[in-house]
Symmetry: C2
Subunit: 407 residues, 2 copies
Amino acid sequence: MLIVQKYGGSSVANAERIRRVARRVTDVRAEGHDVVVVVSAMGDTTDDLIHLVKEITDYPPERELDMLLSTGEQVSIALLAMAIKDLEKPVISLTGAQVGIMTDNVHTKAKILNVNTSRLQNELEQGNIIVVAGFQGVNNVNDITTLGRGGSDTTAVALAVALKADLCEIYTDVDGVYTADPRLVPDARKLDAVSYDEMLELAHLGAVVLHPRSVELAMQYGLPLHVRSSFNHNLGTIVKEAAGMEKSLLVTGVAYDLDVARIGLFNVFDKPGIAYKLFKTLADERVNVDMIIQSAMRDDRNDIAFTCSQGDLKRALEVVEKLQPELGSSGYTSDSGVAKISIIGAGMVSNPGVASLMFEAIYEQGINLEMISTSEVKISCIIKADEARKAVRALHKKFNLAKGIDC
Amino acid sequence: MLIVQKYGGSSVANAERIRRVARRVTDVRAEGHDVVVVVSAMGDTTDDLIHLVKEITDYPPERELDMLLSTGEQVSIALLAMAIKDLEKPVISLTGAQVGIMTDNVHTKAKILNVNTSRLQNELEQGNIIVVAGFQGVNNVNDITTLGRGGSDTTAVALAVALKADLCEIYTDVDGVYTADPRLVPDARKLDAVSYDEMLELAHLGAVVLHPRSVELAMQYGLPLHVRSSFNHNLGTIVKEAAGMEKSLLVTGVAYDLDVARIGLFNVFDKPGIAYKLFKTLADERVNVDMIIQSAMRDDRNDIAFTCSQGDLKRALEVVEKLQPELGSSGYTSDSGVAKISIIGAGMVSNPGVASLMFEAIYEQGINLEMISTSEVKISCIIKADEARKAVRALHKKFNLAKGIDC
């Protein structure tokens, strides 16, 4: 078999953990499998580098940020390759550029366009374990790009797809995907399987187990992912097509995201092109807008509200300020202290009662809803950030997620 | 003018120093010059990385060492580029691979074969200041190589040669090349100019101002180097052809090297091929042999002694042990605690009296000579390491180097 494994930053945070990952990798190799290992930067490396940047400039060019941050994974792959070699297995480390992970030119948030597998194939044929730097690629002018935080998951899935791997294992510091964050909800239950759709919503919603783009890519190519812990040998959670899974459950899990900022515009013109103008400009400034809500207030005026990450808030407000005359808005508000709470479940699509159950649970806690947004497999609410934990516990209980039965 | 500048690790050791280098670079740019800047890894980065390696393995593969250590310079170039951009000058950072510094395959000690200038030319035409990672290159299979410690000097000279630069400035933490180490000899004098030959011997002998390969390369292409301090604007020392320089002086400077180990073999066969066998095998094991002395003891037997760096001693002794039967030696000794003391001067070639003055100075200090070796422009002696400082001071005095007149 050809197995692609991905280890996150906490799994390679120090020399001892790197040696442990090396043993895991060589054990799999000893069973006769080909192994490609994708690793992230060691523990706090990225934060340390960002700290250095802040001592130098408030406006680092994004190309240079990529040049800087990509060194974190390069350190990891070199050290892991040394540890594997120390166990007397043939091994070679490769950067994103050396692998041939071709991306677009959007520095710090690049998308993979293509993976050139010739060097990988060649190294596998020579019997090497391959250790690949996650999170990074190279654009068409040979400049280093990065895929955004958590991009190592995407690297692993892209390599598994390109190499037609038999298995793609995502190692992390938890046992798998849970019905809610186990640190928050003590009786949260590990799911044996979850659908791509549900995982996609979970990842987007801040359960932060898998990078959403990696799930999209896996779904697109039908590649099952095994999310499991690098600290034990327990089976984790399989992410795959919905068929034959815990479909009957209305709600599969509860997710929350504390990195949310909310912006509301009052009384914008009600005419074609207004939303386009606003969200196109935000996209051009690379503000990742998440929820969008528009509601008619009067005949010729609308309110528009949207959320983004707290890090994007400043840029978003600059856009809003600049566009005010064009949008005709009478003013705007913003709040950097909100959270998004969501319930996810492939079974909820045909059951309108789920939403009211959710609102009931939140109401019972005396929590006010600031925004609501729904999709086929999830319902999300914006509430005050300091009430997020209470809301998650209440929802987990309301939907009986600890027992895995319908409410 | 096109100016290539090189800044060592101490010049970019922290954010504040990086910002200072950025100001220096942009000042030169503001005068209308094109600038290519070569930087080393920040301060202790390389040592920190080596420390990590030691926690993982005693036998790191050299390819992976290069993969690891090259990240140090990559961090420096990204941060310096950010600092320059913060001063509102157009700038781009490039790794050795991106520049196209092609090397051979000898990892950790690679030699530059060729510099592809197309990207450099292109970035200069676009008005960019270019910040290049020193110390590193790329081999013919796109693997990262490093040029050995101090290799950033070689990078700077190679770029200056390839770009036909008007000036190559090597910034360091001292004001230039001195008649002796100023920390050891308080009245040591800064030299305004020094010849390539003398600088080559000075560098080889541990004055550690310039990497010897950079001097060889500069000499080969007749490129003058300006060695100066990054902490002030004083003129430093020009390294150039001997013509018109302080030739009349018998002795230009005193150098010492404390990183020396000595190995002596007794009674080896006196027949053709013995020295070849020994030193070929040492070279194959990448032991850098420095001084070699052979002397006939009896009709059919010789003693052979040589020196290498202390880090190479273990490998050298393994070679000697293995070859003993073939060499016929009756035994060997080694000493890791010796130093090499040398006097350098282009004027000494035709003056045999210099050697005896040197030996006199050393004898007056009661120091024993363990090995002696001479060349056209230098005389070197191996003595006990703990007597090195005393010997340097005595020689500086004996040759009146503080005053710059002949003795």
